[in-house]
Symmetry: C2
């Protein structure tokens, strides 16, 4: 099995972007706008594809971004997590980032990221460090118990097909997407991994990463199919209030956003993850026992989803609301 | 002239809160809700007063908060800016924070803060360090040139009546309320000062700080009087998009917010500054020469406001839009 190099990974990332976009256009009948940009501080650039709601569109805001950039020297902000010997190294990185905020509060927000990084004396093909990173996670407003369990079971299957550790990546996801100032998770989790470069040959890791990239189609489809279910104005308002929490996470806690902003990255690409609309209300607390309280008291706390049974739902919700 | 102590300053802060609230209720005919809370990690607490829009209310969201807290040990996050000898000192702090987001895009958002801090062996009346901090600044969506100049001229008068340095505090305000990732100021500025403890006797500094606290009434009144002027839905949408920038500043850059979140402060009080509604739009750029473009290209860059003349407006806007 021959090794896999940057160009092949880059082509693979573009293909992931194309397949995800084709799926989303087909499933929503809504076209994206494409914005092609170049990286000003080095070489490369990106292909940003954006959905913005017009009238009764399914997606209120969404983006599927591909980027591939290289630079003669690692940005200062990146050095903290790297060996000092790399401080003057060339670097290359490529990946795909997805955030989809549907209009309907019944359909969750989904986030996906797959990325590859390498550094070294790249002109002379001397790659000194490399790794993959990525993950996928779901932020529902009105979760359905069985659908959440199904999401995690399907995801577990995808991860384990590649002999990777679902349990570890699931815990890392719960830890990463956490709003400490609210004592809440951002959503119902998923998987998150970083600095993945061992345990399997590089090509096998890349196959795993590609599966994660494409997993959105299989994982999100049952949720997106609910796009025409009715909902109330009160549910829509609750969704917009929850989107305030999404903004809080991304601007206060997300390391990717922080890194991008501090390293003087492309602001519009970094902040594309923000929803179209978010609201705040002072000291708002949903009524005990309501679907809204269930979200906060049960779904936004880490759960052992894959081992929960449909018949446990009532008891678990009752316990969480005590 | 006898010295001024913590209790007197605390009483003065409560009086500032009362006067500002009385003014706002009178000027808007809109009542606030009061939330009295206690500080869980030490002694003291606060009196949060919140306006939240119902139907055609003037204020979409607003808060005038008084707090006075003390603790046996400075929070870790506070130590960075203090002498190491204080690491085990008791501290006390009291202040008033104001953020007002009116519904009308014609009326600017205003922010005010006045605060007093002391640390030392306080049980034995041994205050080892103390200082005042504060400021006031304006974030308009549709600024009127002459009103902005007037705002700064009035503010300069208030500051200089106390023999304080308007120019220095104005520059500090421009520097503090800056969105580096957008290369934009948050608004048209005002004044900002911190660690103020010298140059004048403490009582005189306290008189200056009180004047700043009450200055909102005089400074904001000409703007709030415009609450019933007509505006378009398109102007309202632009305002909500600008509020996204307000959120970005507060969550990405504001040191007070960062300090509060990191030191495990009271989340609802810290994030009360956020607007009710904020929107984001990918790579949005207002049309050249429009009022919206004037805001971004001219008003949100630091200007020598007090020395501008009404007749300069057209030329300055033209130049800024080139």
């Amino acid at each position: 099995m021959e090794n896999v190099g940057f160009d092949e990974i880059k082509e693979g990332m573009m293909s992931i972007q194309d397949q995800l976009c084709a799926y989303l256009v087909g499933a929503t009948k809504q076209q994206f706008l494409e914005d092609v940009w170049t990286y000003e501080k080095g070489e490369g650039g990106g292909r940003t594809r954006v959905w913005e709601e017009v009238e009764s569109d399914v997606l209120e805001k969404g983006g599927v971004n591909f980027s591939s950039i290289s630079g003669p020297e690692l940005p200062q902000a990146a050095l903290a997590s790297m060996p000092a010997s790399l401080s003057k190294s060339e670097f290359r990185t490529t990946g795909v980032s997805v955030v989809i905020h549907p209009h309907s509060p019944i359909v969750p927000t989904i986030h996906l990221n797959v990325r590859y990084f390498e550094a070294g004396d790249l002109k002379n093909n001397d790659v000194q460090v490399w790794w993959f990173g990525g993950g996928i996670d779901l932020t529902p407003t009105y979760p359905q118990f069985s659908q959440v369990v199904q999401f995690h079971q399907t995801l577990k299957g995808i991860v384990e097909k590649h002999d990777q550790d679902y349990g570890k990546y699931k815990r890392q996801c719960d830890e990463y997407f956490y709003l400490a100032h609210r004592k809440e998770c951002r959503g119902i989790g998923g998987i998150f991994f970083d600095h993945l470069n061992s345990g399997q040959p590089k090509r096998q890791l890349w196959e795993f990463v590609q599966s994660v990239g494409l997993s959105l189609i299989q994982l999100y489809d049952p949720f997106l199919k609910r796009q025409s279910e009715p909902y109330s104005e009160q549910q829509r308002q609750f969704q917009l209030w929850r989107r305030g929490r999404y903004v809080e996470f991304n601007l206060l806690w997300d390391r990717g956003t922080k890194f991008g902003i501090q390293s003087n990255g492309r602001t519009e690409s970094i902040l594309m993850s923000l929803p179209k609309t978010a609201t705040w209300k002072y000291s708002h607390t949903p009524e005990k026992g309501s679907a809204e309280a269930n979200l906060i008291n049960f779904y936004l706390k880490p759960q052992d989803w894959v081992n929960l049974k449909d018949q446990d739902e009532d008891q678990l919700l009752q316990k969480a609301n005590q």
